[in-house]
């Protein structure tokens, strides 16, 4: 039972295999890795290398693709209270950008996630940061960063599903470090499930979520191999219009979105949370001004850290332009409605979502309002 008296579902490796891994619904968040010797990952795929005989397991409980109950997570992070049915609970919405020229140059858009991570490490708020490293044209890998150089090695958005959380379990087990995480929304949800188990008590100093409407499969990188002109790309972006844009030698190379769409990870089609609703701070594209990030302040802890970073001169923030907010809401609404339709139709890929009637009604109300 949780605080609301709702039964907490228990399950084990066989359930995880049947409902998530074998069903192609794993987001490769990495939360289940690092404890269990049966679960391994390679090529952005998580698999049991041998069947585990245990009837119940941590792997099932921390998975963001089983029993994901937004009301429970809202209660856990924000206390009870009505949340925004599209953008999730938040204190404020901003545009923000880093002021450090190197961070600005290397980071995605305004470099806000990088600047916040550097501040968390530099200010002592966190001892280590779990990040996603690599170039945009090769499969990324998890990084445990403790100093500036490692953080800078992880700048830039990666568009595939790196198991960034894989080093978390050993880090929690073998060190006393406080940890900052920059992760996809599914990873943020998994982190909160891990917290709910009491595994990370007082150890998760900062959770930064990045907006994510879908990730690509590693087959995308094999596609890139056939494109010699993209081999030296330093950044990749998928703006609202204009296909996929690679920064190469100071210029831009565009690939039509239709060429990339076949590589979308199927599991991502049933994601209900593109803006990391349970992060302390969520960061994304403004879809408007590539020099800035969208920034959602969700928790008091996030707000305090942001304020300190601004005071330290690492970031500047300005209010989210009121006329841009409906555009962001429309994008999120479209994604949520597609998944809600699937859930209402009884489709298996959406069955992981435990949505209360109130939440369903709230999203449907947005549908009517938006239409």
């Amino acid at each position: 039972m949780d605080a609301r008296g709702v039964e907490v579902e228990r399950g084990g490796p066989a359930d995880l295999q049947a409902r998530v891994l074998g069903a192609g619904l794993c987001t490769a968040c990495g939360a289940c890795l690092g404890h269990c010797p049966y679960l391994k990952t390679l090529g952005e795929r998580v698999a049991f290398i041998h069947p585990c005989p245990l009837p119940q397991g941590r792997c099932f409980e921390v998975c963001p693709r089983v029993s994901l109950d937004p009301d429970r997570l809202d209660g856990q992070i924000f206390g009870s209270g009505p949340a925004d049915p599209l953008l999730g609970a938040h204190l404020s919405l901003h545009f923000a950008r880093a002021l450090d020229p190197e961070v600005k140059q290397r980071g995605q858009y305004g470099g806000v996630a990088t600047a916040l991570t550097l501040f968390a490490l530099g200010s002592g708020a966190a001892d280590a940061a779990l990040l996603t490293g690599g170039s945009p044209t090769a499969a990324p890998h998890p990084i445990v960063a403790r100093e500036r150089a490692s953080v800078l090695a992880a700048t830039g958005t990666k568009y595939s599903a790196c198991a960034t959380l894989a080093p978390l379990a050993p880090l929690l087990r073998d060190s006393a470090a406080t940890i900052a995480v920059v992760g996809r929304p599914c990873q943020v949800a998994a982190l909160r499930k891990i917290e709910a188990r009491g595994e990370a008590a007082h150890r998760l100093a900062l959770v930064i979520g990045v907006f994510c409407f879908w990730a690509l499969t590693p087959a995308f990188y094999r596609f890139l191999v056939s494109r010699a002109d993209l081999a030296r790309a330093t950044k990749m972006d998928i703006p609202k219009e204009g296909g996929v844009v690679f920064s190469v030698n100071g210029g831009a190379v565009r690939v039509p979105l239709d060429e990339v769409r076949p590589f979308i990870r199927p599991a991502c089609q049933s994601c209900f949370d593109p803006t990391a609703e349970w992060a302390d701070l969520a960061v994304g594209s403004t879809e408007h001004d590539p020099g800035w990030n969208a920034l959602v302040v969700r928790t008091a802890r996030g707000q305090a850290l942001l304020g300190a970073a601004v005071n330290a001169g690492l970031l500047e923030v300005k209010p989210y332009p009121a006329e841009r907010i409906p555009i962001l809401r429309a994008a999120v609404r479209g994604k949520k409605l597609r998944v809600l339709d699937a859930l209402d139709a009884g489709r298996a890929e959406a069955a992981y979502l435990h949505l209360s009637p109130e939440r369903r009604a709230a999203v449907r109300a947005e549908e009517r309002a938006g239409a």
């Binding site: 010797p37 090529g43 290398i49 041998h50 094999r222």
Partner: protein, 639 residues
């Protein structure tokens, strides 16, 4: 090996030899000049014995790359007038059969003996194959010894017979001859003649025009067999009950007749020359018999052939009842013609023949024995040895296939690593057939993508198998642009049959240096991409297999780590379990190290509820260190 006994010159002296050694001795007493074999249980020790004595006795011995090449080499020596022997297991005769059936037509000059060891019960084989059908198809004469001593005598005489009828002669051994030990009276050793020559007028052709000549030569052999001392009858001259028996089962039959007390009522006809059948001899005994029991290993070969002979003469012989495998009277627990004959099976059959029950011990005694002895015997599965690099290789291949997630298929081959189809290899292998077959299968699977086949395929062979018969399939894959991943488990020896050298090891059968032919050199020369990896580094191996499964074309991954049992492999480390870090059943690992990884050195300490490393067995390979989620397994250097 009884080398000292084997090299003893004293004629008339009696020594104890194994059946395989006795065959080697028989060949040396016949003046052997050339010996060639590919190892295969239970035949391997024949050439091993000969190779050990080749230099001092002045003859030639080699481990050949496969049985066909071995037989061809021996035939060359026979063409040159020398006495030559080639030795193989039953499966090996299949490999050499194309040449053997051709050789039968063209015939030989010097004496040539082909020793084939069948393995009833498949103690060390994948199948129970009865060589005699192939010998019959080849129209060649066949001898079957009943004792170790007879194995020597038959081998020696087989050379004489071969030269007399100008055909290679086959000698069928079975496991209970090959690996049994017995008294052997030695004859004089003979040296090879010291000269060899192909007569300018000689021809050794395979042409159908020679078919009649082959049949004439067979008839000549039959004529010699009619009076051969290797066929013997004991019992009343007019016994109505007759046992026709061949091979070491003869000793069981004689014992059964004595135990049942029917020596005065039952005749035992021992057949040593089993093809072509000595028909007149058989008819003379069928003439007095009304009930006939057949005893022979594996298939009812003699049984069927004698019944056909009887049918031809039935009008004169009158009615005879036949007991054997066809009638179900000679059958083990799995049924007739399956498994090895035992004294128990034989005595039950003789008991049926004479209508006299036999109870060797009281049921009460049997119950006591079972209650006392059996519970103490630990159940053990066939398993890779502690430190075996194959275990690490299969751990990695299995993991790579699971992580790949496309229901990849692993194809197996013949060697120690055939155990990859069992628990010790995590049931990874899905096919096992003949030497090198996994690569031909992989080449075929590699062309199925256009027909809708989407699963990745990996073929797993050993190093000796690679030289034996892999290259034609690899060339096929390259030629036809098949998508194929070949993993060669290179443990630097022919491990399963007893550490024989092979073309990659740098030494010959007689211990001399030989130019090593690395597998990677062969594969690269075929134009294939090659990677080499240490299988004991399992994470790297998983990554390599995973990556190569996703690349086009034919490629080879060599997993190189020596067999842990090779004498030059010294133990440098040992693993230990930190009892503080291992939390036993309290861990979520569900005893992965002991239960799943299944290294014999990783045991479960029931009293303490913790994993423990058996320090006597541990080879220090270190693979288990990475398995433990709590880092409880440590590797330390040993002095």
């Amino acid at each position: 090996m009884s080398l000292q006994a084997l090299r003893t010159a004293d004629p008339g002296r009696t020594v104890v030899l194994s059946g395989n050694e006795a065959i080697a001795r028989g060949a040396m007493e016949a003046g052997l000049a050339y010996a060639a074999a590919y190892p295969g249980s239970p035949s391997s020790e024949v050439l091993a014995s000969l190779a050990a004595l080749a230099r001092e006795r002045g003859f030639y011995a080699e481990w050949s790359t496969n049985e066909k090449v071995a037989m061809e080499g021996a035939a060359a020596a026979a063409f040159a007038g020398l006495r030559a022997i080639t030795i193989m297991k039953a499966d090996g005769l299949n490999v050499a059969l194309d040449f053997l059936t051709s050789l039968a037509y063209g015939g030989t000059n010097g004496g040539m003996v082909v020793v084939v060891s069948d393995d009833p019960g498949a103690h060390s084989s994948t199948k129970e194959e009865d060589t005699r059908y192939l010998v019959r198809a080849s129209h060649l004469p066949l001898l079957e010894p009943t004792t170790v001593e007879e194995a020597k005598e038959m081998t020696r005489w087989a050379f004489d017979l071969s030269e007399e009828i100008r055909l290679p002669v086959l000698l069928r051994s079975v496991t209970r001859i090959a690996h049994a030990r017995g008294s052997v009276e030695l004859g004089a050793l003979r040296s090879p003649p010291g000269e060899a020559r192909v007569d300018p007028g000689a021809r050794f052709f395979t042409t159908s025009a020679l078919h009649p000549l082959l049949l004439q030569r067979g008839a000549a052999a039959r004529e010699l067999f009619e009076t051969s001392p290797f066929n013997a009858y004991q019992g009343p001259a007019d016994a109505r009950r007759l046992i026709i028996v061949t091979g070491p089962v003869w000793t069981y039959a004689v014992e059964a007749v004595a135990l049942l007390g029917v020596t005065n009522a039952v005749g035992v006809l021992k057949l040593g020359t089993t093809w072509p059948l000595p028909e007149r001899l058989l008819l003379s005994h069928l003439g007095h018999a009304r009930d006939v029991l057949f005893l022979e290993e594996i298939e009812p070969f003699i049984e069927t052939e004698v019944k056909a002979l009887y049918a031809q003469h039935a009008a004169k012989l009158g009615l005879i009842a036949f007991l054997g495998k066809a009638s179900g009277h000679v059958a083990g627990p799995a049924g007739p013609a399956v498994g090895e004959l035992t004294p128990e099976i034989v005595i039950a059959a003789v008991s049926a023949l004479v209508g006299r029950p036999f109870e060797p011990r009281t049921p009460e005694f049997r119950r006591k024995v079972e209650a006392t002895a059996l519970p103490e015997l630990p159940a053990r599965a066939l398993a890779f040895c502690a430190g075996c690099p194959h275990r690490a290789a299969f751990w990695a291949i299995k993991a790579a296939l699971e992580l790949d997630g496309r229901d990849g298929v692993a194809l197996g081959d013949i060697g120690c690593y055939t155990l990859g189809s069992m628990q010790t290899g995590y049931f990874t292998l899905k096919t096992v057939h003949a030497m090198g077959s996994s690569v031909g299968l992989a080449s075929g699977f590699g062309k199925l993508a256009a027909l809708g086949f989407q699963q990745p395929v990996v073929s797993v062979v050993g190093d000796s198998t690679f030289y034996h018969s892999v290259t034609p399939a690899l060339i096929n894959a390259r030629y036809n642009d098949s998508r194929l991943l070949l993993v060669v488990l290179d443990n630097s020896t022919t491990a399963m049959t007893g550490h024989q050298p092979h073309p990659g090891t740098g030494r010959s059968a007689t211990g001399e240096p030989a130019p090593p032919l690395p597998i990677e050199a062969v594969a690269r020369a075929l134009g294939l991409a090659v990677e080499i990896q240490d299988p004991l580094r399992t994470s790297d191996t998983v990554e390599s297999v995973y990556r190569l499964l996703r690349t086009e074309g034919a490629k080879v991954l060599i997993l190189r780590s020596p067999c842990a049992l090779l004498p030059w492999v010294k133990r440098s480390h040992r693993a230990t379990v930190d009892p503080e870090r291992c939390i036993g059943e309290g861990c979520g690992c569900a005893r992965l190290c002991n239960r799943v990884f299944s290294c014999p050195a990783l045991v479960w300490d029931l009293a303490r509820g913790r994993a423990r490393v058996d320090e006597v067995l541990c080879a220090g390979c270190g693979v288990c260190v990475d398995l433990c989620p709590r880092d409880a397994i440590r590797l330390e250097e040993v002095a």
